[in-house]
């Protein structure tokens, strides 16, 4: 009989070291918990927990400090990039990231995001795009797709009345201050692996003082999309990724 190569007593999967043992408050099937996990894994693998400061947003991830075992500074809605700028400029050798949703980053905080990017602040932005305001109950986001239902775009988003979904990653890529921008998703195992790779790359760039980096994560929101978690994961690929194509949008590794 062939001996199995797998040692059944070896731990091959577990909680990342820098996620606290609190139970996520996120809905079933939500992408936030996956994104949190990836960031925690990257912090562990890069061994930067001691000098990382995170800036969580207002929105569903407002309680991120209950999960990340790192120093965190709350930001008012939309101001993540301004707050992160203040921290990073004061402590330039720390790793500073903001974690922001689509309403936070692309509506109320557009100016802060745009100008931090334009200044080439050496920070990393984790941009969770789920095409809806989650925390407040499913209102239209700047990234809500045309034809998508939301509680404030009835019956669905209409370009004439509500404008178009904003592609922040593409817009920011045109600014000279930005160095690395990639859009990923957290809906399938392969996309999750790619997303982690992108997050790691962004943090590495920051560690090397390259400049502004952002990873956009298309993230499922089954509750407000009114779908099952499985359908929501499918919808990311079949519909959302059509409007927000996945892939590297900009990668210029010039030291700032």
């Amino acid at each position: 009989m062939m001996k199995s190569k797998i040692n059944v007593y070896q731990k091959i999967f577990g909680r990342p070291q820098y996620l606290k043992e609190n139970i996520f408050h996120y809905c079933a099937g939500c992408g936030h918990s996956i994104a949190h996990r990836l960031i925690a894994e990257v912090i562990e693998e890069l061994n930067i927990r001691d000098r990382t400061i995170g800036v969580p947003p207002a929105g569903c991830a407002v309680l991120a400090y209950n999960y990340f075992d790192i120093d965190m500074l709350e930001s008012m809605h939309g101001r993540g990039c301004a707050v992160a700028t203040g921290v990073k400029r004061t402590l330039p050798d720390r790793i500073v990231f903001s974690y922001q949703g689509d309403g936070d980053l692309a509506a109320i905080g557009t100016a802060e995001t745009f100008h931090a990017a334009n200044r080439g602040e050496n920070i990393t932005v984790l941009f969770i795009n789920n095409a809806v305001y989650g925390m407040t109950g499913g209102q239209m986001a700047p990234t809500t797709l045309l034809g998508q239902f939301s509680t404030t775009s009835r019956p669905t988003r209409d370009a004439l009345l509500d404008g178009y979904p904003i592609r922040m990653s593409e817009i920011l890529s045109h600014l000279e201050g930005t160095r690395y921008i990639e859009r990923c998703a957290v809906n399938t195992p392969s996309n999750i692996v790619k997303a982690k790779r992108a997050i790691k790359k962004a943090f590495r760039y920051q560690m090397d003082d390259v400049g502004f980096t952002m990873v956009e994560l298309l993230s499922q929101c089954p509750t407000n999309w009114k779908m099952t978690p499985i359908d929501a994961c499918r919808w990311v690929d079949e519909t959302m990724a059509k409007a927000f194509p996945l892939g590297v949008i900009k990668d210029v590794r010039i030291k700032g």
Partner: protein, 352 residues
């Protein structure tokens, strides 16, 4: 040296190492001074922000990371900053905010006014909080109070506002910079990355009502201590006064001129000048009401501090209000005439 530039120099001398601001008249010289000089200082950061909102939030980040941080603006810009000031109060983070007031409401104009008194002393932003408000009346005092503002902000871990107006910001006067106090504070709250220790967070979101209430009472207790310990005021010719003017900032300077004229006319007038607008020197005013009956509240507004004087007097004495809002700079002559008109002596002389 010009008032606005003096604030910048005093701040740098006091150890301010982070400034973010957005251009707005009549305080631009301060932003320009910081641009020119703060980056020359080791560890000094100057950022011209994209908005006043961004500036105050950068200050919040810098403050949490341990820097002595400041931002400045003028009335409409201070309205935009209120979100961040509220967050600083909630997070118990030190910061200095300078408001070189101009005429309002709305865009108003760029002339000296005192219309932001309510906004400054009542918290300004949302939620149950107070801001320490310092009201300088000279360029020398601008320098002194700017340094003191950083110490107060550290001591109580709370935002401190310097409330001056276009007149004081733009005027030039000789001054001496005092030696700044060494920074004494408990730096345990500063986020530097968790190191090998426990991770920490700074936040204002407290979803549990009981805990939120406790945080509110905690802030309240702090404000009680500030009210008890940090009230500042100046009195001028009050010893023999029959009439007392209550005025702050530029208005107090004008009042001193009026007092000289009144005394020449034989009306014994004195001045109480609040230096802290919050906490307010209410007890001082109340004490004076035991020997003085007539109070003249004089402001470059339609009457905002007037309410604090009424509260302080609690029905005692007679209050007359003289105000010139909108950027008009009243003269000592007109104030003296107003006082003359409203004092008993004036009837004897038959003047109006």
């Amino acid at each position: 040296m010009q008032g606005n530039r003096v604030i910048g120099e005093a701040a740098i001398r006091a150890g301010c190492r982070f400034y973010a601001g957005y251009p707005i008249t009549p305080q631009n010289e301060l932003t320009e001074y910081m641009a020119e000089n703060l980056r020359k200082v080791e560890g000094g950061t100057f950022i011209q922000a994209e908005s006043e909102i961004a500036a105050i939030n950068m200050v919040l980040g810098a403050s949490a990371a341990g820097a002595r941080a400041m931002t400045s603006s003028s009335s409409p810009g201070i309205s935009l900053k209120q979100e961040g000031i509220s967050a600083l109060a909630a997070d118990e983070l030190p910061a200095v905010i300078v408001n070189i007031m101009r005429g309002g409401p709305g865009l108003g104009n760029i002339l000296p006014a005192q219309g932001d008194y309510f906004q400054a002393t009542r918290g300004g932003g949302h939620g149950d909080y107070r801001t320490i408000v310092l009201a300088p009346a000279s360029v020398q005092e601008l320098a002194d109070l700017t340094m003191d503002a950083f110490d107060l902000a550290d001591r109580y871990r709370t935002p401190v506002m310097i409330l001056a107006d276009a007149m004081i910001g733009q005027m030039m006067e000789p001054l001496v910079f005092k030696k700044p106090e060494p920074r004494q504070y408990d730096d345990g709250y500063i986020l530097r990355g968790a190191g090998q220790g426990r991770s920490r967070f700074i936040r204002g979101l407290i979803l549990d009502a009981i805990r939120m209430e406790e945080h509110n009472w905690k802030l309240y207790r702090k404000y009680q201590v500030i009210t008890k310990k940090e009230v500042r005021h100046e009195t001028f010719k009050t010893d023999d006064a029959d009439v007392l003017i209550v005025a702050y900032g530029t208005a107090a300077r004008i009042a001193k001129g009026a007092i000289k004229r009144c005394r020449e006319m034989g009306i014994r007038v004195g001045l109480i000048r609040p230096i802290t607008l919050w906490p307010y020197p209410a007890d001082v005013i109340k004490r004076f009401s035991e020997k003085v009956e007539t109070f003249i509240v004089f402001e470059m507004s339609t009457g905002q501090m007037l309410e604090d004087v009424r509260l302080a007097l609690g029905g005692a004495g007679i209050i007359h209000f003289y105000g010139r809002p909108g950027g008009v700079i009243p003269t000592p002559v007109e104030l003296a005439r107003f006082i003359e008109h409203h004092t008993k002596n004036s009837w004897d002389r038959g003047s109006q």
